[in-house]
Symmetry: D2
Subunit: 297 residues, 4 copies
């Protein structure tokens, strides 16, 4: 059973996870290129610091190039029996590819979707893991330290073989897009109607007894507490890759996804200075009806 | 058979219709509050100018209060056997109510959806009529003058009883919303991809042989001819009541309308300075993840 | 302060509410046409049973005709200073109309949106109230008995004047449609991909640490526990009026509602034996391309 | 200038195109594995039959493996200066890859999106081409024979470099999905309301003067002429890859595509025996409210 791991990437997430792992009795050697946060000077030093036998390196760096770079370097220093845990937001197909490469040298691969954001340090992280039964079993002390208190199966799942963890996390994030947009549309409609004199209070009153109560609702209440009209924020919303991947997967599997895709498209639209499509609709209306249009500013 | 009608409302539509009716051999007495365009000084004078027997007054003023006002006044001057034609964009339920009122004095009522915009004078107008067989039969010379050349049934339909004409026109406009948004989304995607070096030319090449050829496509080509990047226009799109009514009707009839409703919502969004809903999504993301957001400008 | 109320309607909701009110120390005289559940034989008897002064009758019967009928009868027996509480799912505009009628005889009106379903007896009900400050203040002991334990403002809100309670509940239900559809789409995608070997376990693992944790998620886990493939259920989903009203209101207010409307339309579609729209698309494809279509069975 | 080409693939499309090319004065040697339609016994024989100099082979076989197979074989028999035209529905990225391979032997590559369906023989085909200026110029006699009569630029476009032809065709098809769904939703709503007594006649009356007139509308009228209630058809609609690719591309480019994606998802849903998502919604409703659900049949 694993009691000491290496952790690569000590950003917002990694740093909190190191703290929670240590609180949970797991020894952690962390590596990050930033000298002020790292425990060891190099990735190689991190691997050397781990106890011999089954060495475990948990990678917690941005998806894409950064993750690929770290995994490529680990491939040169790890040996048969070691395990890499990819805890970032890699696409599940990349997991399958990386796992196959590492398997050539006998190195195991486990992908873990980690949810909980900045609150995870305090609440624990929801974990979805993909990998072999053996590798997962070896890592259970680590997962137990990270996951929330309570029954293990309410905070951790071995969702399937390599890739299943990130696939589950991808769908989790797609659902999250839909949930957030649902609350947001409701907020806009409540606020649009003068009839409701206390929009913040209405959201607040939904927290305990109603069908829509949730953690996101609690956060909505916090946000409205600080800023009841959301006047301090711009209506500009980034999207992570996972919302896009969710819709891509659904299209490949011929699964209708009207709500999650609408939530994704609303984010795209939120970032446009001007919508080329709506310019085209305006142009058509001008052509056929001499309808009122506005000139570009 | 009717050969001389009164026409109330000589705006953009009414004026062109008067011209086309006269070209088609129908005598028209027009009334409009603006002295420079009217043929007679008052609505009462218009009714007096019509030949006795079955007098026909075609109303072509904005839906809502203006139409209601004219119809109320007509109710006081028309008598049994006369026919009112409501050619504006009234809701079909209003038609049914007005028709019932006029029927008390024996005045007939026909509602006509008129499509064709500013091009109708030249091309003829697509007409959808609701009313009794007798009233419609009496009006056929008028409809024949307004509709496009070609087989009557390709430019005119007696769609059903009172209300059916405007119901059909309402659905026509709902479809129109969907068609316009379809071209507009395609335009945005073509223009977003650097690969296409001639977006205007691509639309132009669709005009004759392709599955998507249509009159709206022809208008899109004209619009891009004037302004290949649509740089002169703002992305601000008004919606007439009829798109809204279409979705309302679908909801009442439990008919799924994903495309037409999406086109309607895109117009609502196009007119927002900032989206309260997307501010709410930004607020939620800030709460749970410390994600990047933008402050309001 | 009110300590004894009349409750009209002892169905699934009313019956549970009576029980919770009594547990909370409120005396309740219930009326229902079914002799086996009612406390008094008639509505008039119920009113007589209430202590003189400010009599309170809470109405908990189906929206529409049933509610209108009870309110009309109450109008004949209540007198100045009494209060009617409409706790069903009336449209907020009906509330405003009924309140105006009752105000003519000095009877107060409070509309309350009640959320919590069959779980409310145990957990308490989320309450959103509309009405005057005085009427609401008088009813606070009743609200306190019904709402969940914990801070009052997390289970109750005075959302605004008459109508605001049901408006808030309507939006609550619209949000609920979006939330449910979000989880449902995620479920379908998880289940469609063979990669996930434990779909139920994946939902279960989201219950404690993740961003998507919620009461609806907990219910989803329960449902999958009983029936991991949902094999016992048909894909037929009713919609209450409130989802429709939410979209109608948004359309009137020009608020884009892509997600909530998509969730509503998905329910409409779920109840269709065959989709006329998709027959039309099949017909078009057959016309232009000789594409494969299926004949009706 | 090219006056004699090879044409690989004599299915529904290829066969008609051979006929139209010959009518337009282009000599065509066709190859197809089916002896009853082919002009030559093998692909090699087809290449040999072409006049020396710049040989042109137009490939018109299903996208994916079939097209890849033919292109691989052509790569072994064509030589520098020859041109391959890919007229099927390849993904534009595949075009770019194939073009790069062929360029190694000096063989040119032009991708052409061809629209018009079974009507193209009579009406001509709308053509969107991607490739070098030289290759396109050499092929103009071929394009002129295939495209509809009228100005060249209304039936043909050189949309950009290799890939641009199929990219334009992909977007064309995405638009087509939206247009078809728009008419289909309108059809369903018209038919749902008893008020309209002549749904077929209503569509027919839109053909000449209205804003929604189009070729697809004409086809809708034909379909309703044969079968006014569409009673002979099942509501089952296939989707080609191009609708999916359109949405994939939009997601990559962060272009909101609410209407085209909704049209795609409606097709996915049309092919489901039962919707797992709607089963999940039914399950949730059963859990929280004891709402009526239907058991699976």
């Amino acid at each position: 059973m694993v009691s000491h791991i290496g952790l690569v990437g000590l950003g917002k997430m990694g740093n909190n996870m190191r703290a929670r792992l240590r609180q949970g009795g797991i020894e952690v050697t962390g590596y990050d290129p930033r000298p002020e946060v790292t425990d060891v000077p190099t990735l190689a030093a991190l691997v050397e610091a781990l106890p011999p036998g089954r060495r475990v390196v948990w990678v917690m760096v941005p998806a894409g190039e950064p993750t690929r770079g770290v995994l490529a370097e680990l491939r040169t220093v790890l040996t048969s029996g070691d395990i890499v845990v990819e805890g970032g937001n890699s696409h599940y197909v990349e997991d399958q590819e990386r796992a196959a490469e590492l398997a050539e040298s006998g190195v195991g691969y486990v992908d873990v979707g980690v949810s909980g954001g900045v609150w995870g340090l305090e609440n624990g992280y929801g974990l979805m893991a993909g990998g072999s039964d053996d590798d997962i079993a070896a890592l259970m002390p680590v997962f137990d330290a990270l996951r929330p208190a309570g029954p293990r199966e309410e905070g951790f799942v071995h969702a399937g073989p390599v890739g299943a963890g990130h696939f589950a996390k991808m769908v989790h994030n797609g659902i999250e897009y839909g949930l957030m947009q649902s609350y947001a549309e409701g907020y806009e409609l409540l606020a649009a109607k003068g009839l409701i004199t206390d929009v913040h209070g209405t959201f607040k009153a939904w927290q305990r007894g109603t069908v829509v109560r949730s953690w996101l609702l609690d956060l909505m209440v916090r946000a409205l507490e600080d800023d009841p009209q959301l006047a301090k924020l711009d209506d500009w919303v980034e999207d992570s890759g996972e919302g896009r991947w969710t819709v891509d997967e659904a299209i490949e599997a011929a699964v209708p996804l009207p709500v999650i895709s609408a939530a994704l498209f609303a984010r795209f639209a939120s970032r446009q200075e001007a919508s080329p499509a709506m310019k085209a609709v305006a142009a058509l209306r001008q052509q056929f009806g001499g309808h009122a249009v506005k000139s570009a500013p």
